[in-house]
């Protein structure tokens, strides 16, 4: 048997629905159709009345999820593409994010954001939005990079008492495969050492973990041992694990698919530099997407985002500093 990242997301929802009567799924086309990406395939049939099609009303969808959560439910909301969550931005950041702090009442919603670039998807079907949601207080932001994490973190997202923005990467949906679903997982907020190495540390998350691993392969052939960390969640962000790795390697490269101004890579460098400055043997570096909308044409897109090739190049540069 082989399970894809997308299967894992489907299975996690099936499991959550089966185990917890408080769970329901709400989103455009998630019902009989099974969702634009088939992440809810058959769920409406398996769990009648608990997987509901929503109108094209992202703001009201999230508002409804908040209400349901206050009333004791555990809604999972699928936004058809992460990019469309701008239309729900206010409810996510100002209503859900502030709920517990203002009222003392938890607001356990899970907002699934099919995120990230895929070939030919263009400016409005390719965005990664973790930096926006992580900036606002009150939200947990998950960015699973593996089939196992897609499964266990989504279950965890539903279980925890806070609003979770679950950034699942569309590029990983079909290609990434595992043999089986995990029965245990790292706790939320813990980064994973995806590959050990002693010469430098690459911190990545979501699809970029795989570009980093491929770069590490390439560099291994050149005799360089790269440690690759997978952040798993960007808020909370596991500074300790990052610092411990940098303490071993002395060199840090942060890789993100998002735009270069602000975001995860800046946040990691700021933390490591202010708290672990002396661990660094060289200036910390980062690699992000270009500061333009995400281009449609594959040729442009391939250069817009970091890839194994550019990660390897940035690594070589870092090693030379």
């Amino acid at each position: 048997m082989s399970i894809t990242y997308l299967d894992a997301i489907r299975e996690a929802q099936a499991r959550a629905l089966a185990d917890d009567p408080r769970v329901f799924v709400y989103g455009q086309d998630v019902g009989a159709f099974g969702g634009a990406f088939k992440a809810t395939k058959n769920l409406a049939q398996q769990f009648p009345g608990r997987v509901l099609d929503a109108p094209i009303s992202e703001d009201a969808m999230i508002g409804a999820a908040i209400g349901a959560a206050i009333e004791g439910m555990r809604p999972i909301i699928e936004i058809q593409f992460a990019d469309f969550s701008t239309a729900a931005f206010n409810q996510i950041v100002n209503h859900a994010g502030a709920y517990f702090w203002r009222t003392g009442v938890p607001c356990p919603i899970t907002v699934r954001l099919p995120s990230g670039g895929t070939s030919g998807s263009g400016p409005f079907h390719s965005q990664t939005m973790e930096a926006l949601y992580a900036h606002y207080p009150g939200l947990v932001v998950m960015t699973p990079a593996t089939v196992e994490d897609a499964y266990s973190m989504l279950l965890e997202a539903v279980a925890i008492d806070d609003p979770v923005v679950f950034c699942e990467h569309k590029l990983l949906y079909y290609h990434l495969k595992a043999e089986s679903l995990p029965s245990e997982a790292l706790p939320t907020g813990k980064a994973r050492i995806a590959r050990t190495g002693r010469d430098m540390t690459i911190v990545a998350y979501s699809a970029m973990v795989h570009e980093a691993l491929a770069a590490a392969d390439e560099l291994a052939a050149e005799g360089t041992k790269v440690e690759v960390l997978d952040l798993r969640s960007v808020k909370p962000l596991d500074t300790d694990t990052v610092m411990a790795s940098v303490a071993r390697t002395g060199r840090l490269l942060c890789v993100g698919e998002a735009w270069p101004w602000g975001g995860v890579t800046a946040e990691i460098i700021a933390r490591v530099c202010s708290e672990g400055f002396d661990l660094l043997d060289a200036p910390p570096q980062r690699l992000n997407a270009k500061d333009t909308p995400i281009p449609y044409h594959p040729n442009l897109w391939a250069v817009h985002r970091p890839t194994a090739r550019t990660v390897a190049a940035a690594s070589r540069r870092l090693l030379s500093l």
Binding site: F24, A60, M61, G63, A68, E71, T103, R271
Partner: protein, 344 residues
């Protein structure tokens, strides 16, 4: 479309109507006196930030609060002191929130009209207009999913809020799900300084009901009896499976947008018109005229209300201010997931 017309009642009906009317009037009075107190505390520099009153909207607001029962949900907006009280919000909650007492429901974290207790069905508004409606939807949807098909959800918005995308998405969603939503639109002729002519172009906001496929009614917001009847009927229809109900009330905001605003832009013609009547005075005159209460009684109620308000204020003024060094500054219910930011 249902209009607030007075029909002929039997004697026992009259007596119930009278009782409810008097109860409503007393909540209105209490709300007005509470509002006046906040205005005076504001002028005295005792309140941080703004003060937003419901002056002139008490008849409508109280009708919503009174038409609801325990187990119902209410998401009031800026001008709903009367409805809140009638729904069961303690005066202390209002005073503590305005004065920033850590003992209040918002623990000094949020203020003024941004207060509530979700566990008791009273939702604390966020500022973004239109945002509360879909949250009420969600509660009603959740109940349906849990198999509890009772309880209505009421929420209020102003004429200005009908222009928000949030309003539109939420009422449409409620219509699609046929939720027991009571949506009260207080058309008080202005959104801050903006007259309705710059806000919408339909004849009446109730014309929107048809476009959502929900029931719509209109009511004279200055007439307590009419408000109680129209809002009451709409609530009943929602309760009985009639789906979302939109009630549009016409009235005039008899104060500034907030107490910082002298409302100099309000058309004097409007003030002199039927819409400009003070619903509290109209209700008082109605009671006196019908001999439902005498002037002495009303004065007693007034004194009682003033006593309650003064006592609450005195109590809260003795309460300690919040101590920032006792805050844990953690936004999450999952304490273990809170990050300690070194530079925050």
């Amino acid at each position: 479309m249902v209009h607030g017309v007075v029909s002929h009642e039997t004697a026992s009906e009259v007596s119930t109507i009278r009782e409810t009317y008097l109860a409503a009037f007393r909540w209105m009075l209490l709300a007005r006196i509470l509002d006046d107190k906040f205005a005076s505390l504001y002028r005295g520099g005792k309140i941080h930030g703004g003060v937003f009153l419901g002056r002139g909207q008490e008849a409508l607001s109280v009708s919503v609060g009174l038409s609801l029962r325990k187990g119902d949900v209410f998401a009031p907006l800026i001008r709903d002191a009367a409805g809140r009280l009638a729904f069961g919000e303690p005066i202390l909650d209002a005073v503590r929130t305005y004065l920033g007492s850590p003992l209040g429901p918002m623990r000094a974290r949020d203020g003024n009209v941004h207060r509530g207790r979700p566990r008791t069905g009273l939702l604390p508004m966020i500022s973004h207009l239109g945002a509360m409606i879909s949250v009420v939807n969600g509660i009603l949807l959740a109940r349906r999913l849990k198999g509890i098909e009772q309880g209505v959800g009421a929420t209020c918005v102003g004429d200005g809020a009908t222009s928000t995308g949030a309003f539109h998405e939420a009422i449409n969603l409620a219509a699609v799900e046929k939720l027991p939503l009571l949506l009260i639109v207080a058309d008080n002729q202005y959104a801050y300084s903006t007259p309705t002519s710059r806000q919408f172009a339909c004849r009446s906001l109730v014309d929107k009901a048809l476009g959502y496929g929900v029931a719509g009614s209109t009511v004279d917001g200055t007439d307590l009896g009419a408000c109680m009847q129209v809002v009451g009927l709409a609530t009943q229809r929602a309760r009985n499976g009639g789906g979302p109900q939109m009630v549009v009330a016409s009235l005039l905001r008899l104060c500034g947008h907030g107490e910082h605003d002298d409302a100099g832009y309000v058309d004097p013609e409007l003030k002199r018109s039927h819409l400009g009547r003070d619903c509290l005075k109209v209700a008082e005159a109605h009671m006196l005229e019908n001999h439902w209460a005498g002037p002495g009684e009303v004065q007693n109620w007034r004194n009682d209300a003033m006593g309650q308000v003064e006592e609450a204020v005195a109590t809260v003024q003795r309460e300690p201010a919040p101590d920032p060094y006792k805050e844990n500054w953690c936004s999450l219910a999952s304490k273990n997931l809170c990050e300690g930011f070194s530079g925050a």
